[in-house]
């Protein structure tokens, strides 16, 4: 049976670039047809887009007259860049925002680099001290000039709303999740009702409620500004979604972990704080990032209650009589910025998910 074998290779047609092309693009007649259709689609979409965005576009100049109108006029973005990024924040105070960005960037990078020591301290700094720095730096006090929140705007405001929304809603979400899984029927029922109400309604109605109803709820003389009202709305809204994410993590925890911690005599709160939550929160980090992406995209809705976030300000500068008719550039720019933020986060969370998956 094992006669002399001469060494032969696989059919040439199945190897190398040709093999790859044949297998992935032209394996049979309808696949070839699909490939041609795909190429045609790319042909009608990509070249005009590239021409408009890059090749025919104007990048330098100071007024609309410097635009050739053959492609995009990026001068529009460039001339309004301060508004788009910082809103009406006083120009001489911009360093305060930039300093906050810088602190965030440095500590963020520190946390992302693997194998560095004292990460716990940096994390604690970010969660506890950094928010205080933010409040003082951004709104004023301790000798810094006060900047009213109605001057806040642009990408800066978007980041503030999304950041505050997620940071404040996480602890609330964890409490709600624990409450919903509680064995005490009243606690569990109240938490379930709370979660389901917020999850059942669109964010826009929550914002309407925040801007129209919150003032009625407050005692005389207490008056929140518009931003704080929106923040409270966003916070409750995202807390409800995070609660469900965290609950998923708690449910995925093996029963043995509960039993083992009870067996070594931990009380409920110690068991949760020391054993269950650290593990289940780690497991749901990708899902939490997912919620953050959702909140980040949803912050655009605050423009309906009159706040000028990133998208709001782009809409606004587009109505400036000097720059009428450049909405395309504005939207494409906004889309690109949002996309970079969201895609980066989702890419990171997917990577993390794979890492956690193999680490288990």
């Amino acid at each position: 049976m094992s006669a002399a074998r001469k060494e032969i290779g696989p059919p040439v047609i199945e190897l190398g670039t040709i093999g790859w092309l044949r297998k992935n693009l032209f394996s049979n007649w309808y696949n070839s047809l699909l490939t041609i259709f795909g190429l045609y689609l790319l042909y009608i979409l990509i070249p005009p887009l590239v021409n408009w965005i890059f090749l025919d576009a104007n990048f330098v100049g100071s007024t609309r007259d410097d635009c050739s109108n053959e492609g995009a006029c990026w001068i529009f973005i460039q001339q309004n860049i301060k508004l788009i990024f910082y809103g009406l924040y006083p120009t001489e105070e911009l360093w305060r925002i930039n300093l906050v960005y810088l602190i965030l960037l440095i500590s963020g990078v520190y946390l992302l680099i693997p194998n560095l020591r004292h990460k716990g301290w940096v994390g604690a700094f970010l969660l506890i001290i950094f928010p205080i720095i933010c409040v003082v730096m951004l709104s004023g006090g301790f000798g810094l000039e006060a900047v009213e929140t109605r001057l806040w705007g642009g990408l800066f405001l978007t980041l503030v709303i999304a950041g505050v929304g997620i940071v404040l809603s996480l602890p609330i979400g964890v409490m709600l999740a624990l409450g919903r899984r509680s064995k005490l029927p009243v606690v569990s029922l109240l938490c379930t009702i709370f979660i389901e109400i917020w999850r059942g309604v669109p964010l826009i109605t929550v914002l309407f409620m925040a801007s129209n109803m919150f003032p009625l709820f407050m005692p005389e003389g207490v008056n929140f500004d518009k931003l704080i009202r929106a923040l409270i709305g966003v916070m409750f809204f995202s807390a409800a979604y995070l609660a469900e994410v965290v609950r998923g993590g708690l449910q995925a925890m093996p029963k043995g972990q509960y039993e083992a911690s009870q067996a070594v005599g931990l009380t409920y709160w110690r068991m949760m704080a020391l054993v269950i939550l650290p593990q289940s929160l780690k497991m749901v980090i990708p899902a939490i990032i997912g919620s953050f992406i959702a909140i980040f995209k949803d912050t655009t809705l605050v423009l309906v209650i009159g706040l000028f976030d990133f998208l709001g300000i782009i809409q606004f500068v587009g109505t400036n009589p000097d720059w009428l008719g450049f909405s395309h550039e504005g939207y494409v720019f906004a889309a690109a910025v949002f996309w970079v933020f969201c895609y980066a986060m989702s890419w990171y969370s997917q990577r993390l998910e794979k890492k956690l998956d193999t680490g288990r």
Partner: protein, 392 residues
């Protein structure tokens, strides 16, 4: 253990006593919070002279709405405006769901294509669309595309019957003339006969094993009867085409640009999520299932119909419904481009005029809440029904 303290101790440290204690505290705190809010609100409303209660629903609204599916005028009541807004919301959600499903399933299946280019194009679609805020997409379609369209005189047209311009999308309207009712009766009759054919074919297959091409036969029957009866009655059904009269189109059905932009954006955005749901559902059916089905000699179309689709659907349906719900809730972004949906009409205009924030926002939230809870109820039933024949 000390016996003296043990009596009190056994009471305080009794688990169920502790439980009741905690629950009473929670309940008390919640009640206190609600009482605080209610008294504040009552005083604030008294001070500002705001009315309360639902009497305003019967009052004349005195505002007009750009698009109404039922008869409505400024002399109609606030309740009528609520219904108009609700119907407009349901309309945009319905059309959006239809198109999102079609696009989403197509893109989801494309992502699984063995053709590398097609799979990559689908992936690009998903990654681009779902990472850009929906509101931005709505603005783009509305302000940058539809509003930038030419005036009616230079409309984009298709077959002289579909016209797209900055006033909206104009499509032909169907007009049913004399004798058209007979066609409808015949249509119903053939549909009933087709159902009969399906039942008969199934029974016959069970009895003899012979298969009957019920699908082709009944499709031919329905379409054939439809066209024959159409011809026999002298084409009583006609189309009314939109025509350019002066500066605008007359006749046909006009879809306002707000509706077109909103539906378009909602469908494209939600489709990117549906595509992922579909892809996940199909991938959840293991390769071994296809191999087992092949090994018993099933053909490709039967493998799809009998093995893959039934299994994939169980995975797909719950998250798919969730996406439908999201789309419905997201349709409230209509307010930002002034499409007269529930939020804009009722929580916007009506609220502004009456000032009755609590009642109005309560009603609007109630509608969405009802839709959500109703859907999750159905999904729970679905899951329970599916579990009967599943896990151990």
């Amino acid at each position: 253990m000390e016996t003296d303290k043990s009596k009190i101790g056994s009471f305080i440290f009794n688990r169920s006593v502790q439980g009741i204690f905690y629950q009473l505290i929670t309940l008390g705190l919640v009640a206190l919070g609600i009482y605080y809010i209610v008294t504040n609100t009552a005083r604030n409303m008294l001070e500002r002279g705001l009315a309360s209660g639902f009497h305003f629903l019967g009052v004349e609204s005195q505002f007009d709405i750009g698009m109404t599916l039922i008869d409505y005028s400024p002399t109609s009541t606030y309740f009528d405006s609520f219904i108009v807004g609700l119907l407009n919301t349901l309309l945009v959600a319905g059309i959006g769901i239809l198109f999102a499903t079609i696009i989403g399933f197509t893109v989801g299946i494309m992502r699984l294509s063995s053709n590398w280019l097609i799979a990559k194009i689908a992936e690009a679609y998903v990654e681009i669309l779902r990472n850009i805020p929906l509101l931005l997409q709505i603005f783009f379609w509305y302000f940058a595309v539809l509003r930038a369209l030419p005036k009616p005189k230079q409309s984009l047209e298709l077959y002289d019957s579909f016209f797209l311009n900055n006033r909206g999308l104009f499509i032909p309207d169907t007009v049913f003339g004399e004798g058209s009712s007979i066609i409808f009766y015949l249509l119903w009759l053939t549909i009933i006969i087709s159902i009969g054919i399906f039942i008969w074919a199934k029974r016959r297959q069970n009895r003899t094993g012979e298969r009957f091409p019920a699908f082709y036969v009944s499709t031919t029957l329905i379409l054939g009867t439809f066209f024959v009866s159409l011809a026999a009655t002298g084409f009583p059904v006609s189309f009314e085409y939109p025509e350019l009269k002066g500066f605008n189109f007359k006749g046909g059905v006009k879809l306002i640009p707000e509706l077109v932009a909103l539906t378009f954006a909602l469908a494209m955005y939600t489709a990117s999520f549906i595509a992922e749901v579909v892809r996940g559902g199909i991938m959840a059916v293991s390769k071994g299932q296809t191999e087992a089905a092949k090994s018993v000699g099933l053909k490709q179309n039967l493998i799809l119909r009998l093995i893959i689709i039934p299994q994939a659907l169980r995975v797909i349906v719950p998250p798919l419904t969730n996406q439908y719900l999201n789309l419905t809730k997201n349709s409230s972004l209509a307010a930002a481009i002034a499409y007269p949906d529930l939020v804009l009409v009722f929580a916007g205009t009506a609220l502004m005029q009456t000032g009755q924030a609590i009642e109005i926002i309560g009603m609007v939230m109630g509608v969405y809440l009802f839709l959500s809870l109703f859907t999750s109820l159905i999904m729970n039933l679905f899951n329970r029904f599916m579990k009967v024949d599943g896990e151990r």
